[in-house]
Point group: C2
DNA sequence: CTGAAAGCGCTTACAG
DNA sequence: CTGAAAGCGCTTACAG
């Protein structure tokens, strides 16, 4: 079991020499082509593989097969717990299917997203997972060229393409129901100013439902900021300065709710007694340190499996399927 | 600007044909070997590159150069905010240096860690970043073979190797000072049962300092659990059942503090009035939703830079440097 | 200043 | 049942 990684890793040639066969034979056995090969040869090759510590070199394999086992995930802001949960579950699912994940943090910037897309193409990645992508020129080209992409959370800019996400309109409506069924009538909603389709749908679902239930006015405020935390803080400040504190407040993400909570605390407004906060995401941390927050729970830990399934489907040529994941009221 | 990604990406040969030169010439220009080449040729090749939309194929380059631009990060539990922060900053630093990060979630398991190490070697990665690694057979082999590794947070099992982390003994001592200077004398500490060297150092620093200050007894409790959250919850339960609530409690991670907080809340014990909690990590979320927690703050967002610097140093042959990162009292 | 040629490690028809 | 040979895309001494 001698291995000399630093000097030169064992190649097919090394194994072939050790076993006294051709590299073609070793290659076949490494790849499970065992049906036509004598048991004796197979045993000898297997032994040689163990002795020299052979591991296939993926650069050679990729070059020859013209396809790698690499899959790129492009996501904005890895520090957001939502992204971390999606990344973790996808990584596990990819690994189980024999793939390796490259993680790229786009910071929600089209230019960085494009830089990464080009870099990933250079790496000959086999597929792309775009989490909350932004529209960008290279992405558009990739889609047009039929590159294997699965979109997560935000739908493809083009409208067509594989997609995994939740029913955001329904999530918004469910949040409205939570507030309404708690007897609260003066309600508001906090959103980012540069709202994506996700934000828009949640907002629409929320407002439509509240109106259907008989509310005349839904108080709205939005803000820009480096993070949803800051957006929540600023938006609630703006809203309360204008309309006073409502009885209930829907935040289109848990992070926005955290921001609103901080402002409430600094204003000596007691949450949830004075104002009930409802978020969307269902961060697992909530039950530990944010018991005051009710939230629409999304099982991001379970996104990995369907993402990989759709990717597989895309590879097979069926490019437009989608998986609408369930959400629940926590 | 025609591109036909799906059919066949442009290769050096494509460009060479378009420019009417040899692939060797194109290769040189792509790699910035411009000193010996006529301006006219360079311009023609550059134009051809743009026209056919050429991007170098890294499989070919890796095979030939026998080294890739891929760097593997192996970390336990990507959902832990500490890991997310380290991963995010490292990814950015690697990207800036022209590398691509592969992220592997080892779940703190030696067998998975080994599986990943082997898989990464197959990918011909250029370096390994082991965040909170566990001892394992393959890791041992890698170290023995002189593989380019940077260890983060937990020191290399062998003792030798590049390392980025904080002074955990001092962090523990600083936590002791926080409690002591707040006038608290009955103090305890919560740790995971299967403590790593990180835990041991923080514990030691804490206890030694408290004793030096004149405390007779430091109350200790540990617990096993799937996460630090659960460990905190169970450990504080155990400690208080045995010794009652202390005035101050050091938790060797913020997550453990969160767990302790939940138990306190369920027991109607008011934090921090009845018992002051001090954590270690300084999760940015604290100031938003856990203002009751004081913490030793570690700038994980700044680990990326020194990690990449050390990796570079390792590549150059200097394998034993270390960077002790600062921490502060928040 | 530029090109022909070898070779990195692998796979796969093809021939035997 | 097994091997010789071509070729994936790239780099780099070497020759001119």
């Amino acid at each position: 079991m001698t291995r000399k990684q630093r000097s030169t890793p064992a190649s097919l040639a090394t194994v072939a020499a050790a076993a006294g066969v051709s590299i073609a034979t070793v290659s076949r056995i490494v790849n499970g082509e065992t049906r036509r090969a004598s048991a004796e040869t197979i045993a000898r090759v297997r032994k040689a593989i163990a002795v020299v510590g052979y591991q296939p070199n993926h650069a050679g394999r990729t070059l020859r097969r013209r396809e790698s086992r690499l899959v790129a995930m492009l996501a904005p802001n890895l520090e957001n717990p939502v992204m971390a949960a999606i990344a973790a579950s996808t990584e596990a699912a990819l690994r189980a299917a024999g793939y390796v994940m490259i993680l790229c943090d786009t910071h929600d910037r089209p230019d960085l997203q494009d830089e990464y897309l080009n870099a990933m193409r250079s790496q000959v990645v086999r597929g792309y997972i775009m989490v909350a992508s932004v529209p960008s020129p290279v992405l558009k080209d990739f889609v047009a060229d039929g590159a294997p992409i699965v979109f997560v959370n935000r739908r493809p800019p083009s409208g067509r393409g594989a997609f995994v996400g939740i029913d955001n309109i329904k999530a918004g409506a469910d949040a409205a129901d939570m507030l309404w069924s708690a007897g609260l009538r003066r309600c508001g909603v906090l959103t980012p100013a540069q709202g994506s389709s996700v934000t828009r749908d949640r907002l629409k679902g929320f407002c439509d439902r509240l109106r259907a239930l008989g509310t005349e006015d839904v108080y709205k405020a939005e803000a820009t900021g480096r993070s949803h935390l800051e957006i929540g803080y600023e938006a609630v400040q703006r809203l309360t300065a204008r309309d006073g504190w409502p009885e209930g407040l829907m935040c289109v993400s848990d992070q926005i709710a955290y921001g609103a909570y901080r402002f409430a605390r600094e204003s000596d407004v007691v949450i949830p007694e004075r104002c009930m906060l409802v978020g969307i995401d269902g961060n697992p941390l909530n039950r530990w340190i944010a018991p005051w927050l009710r939230s629409i729970e999304i099982m991001y830990e379970e996104f990995g499996q369907p993402i990989v399934e759709l990717l597989d489907q895309v590879w097979r040529g069926g490019g437009n399927a989608e998986r609408i994941m369930p959400h629940s009221v926590a």
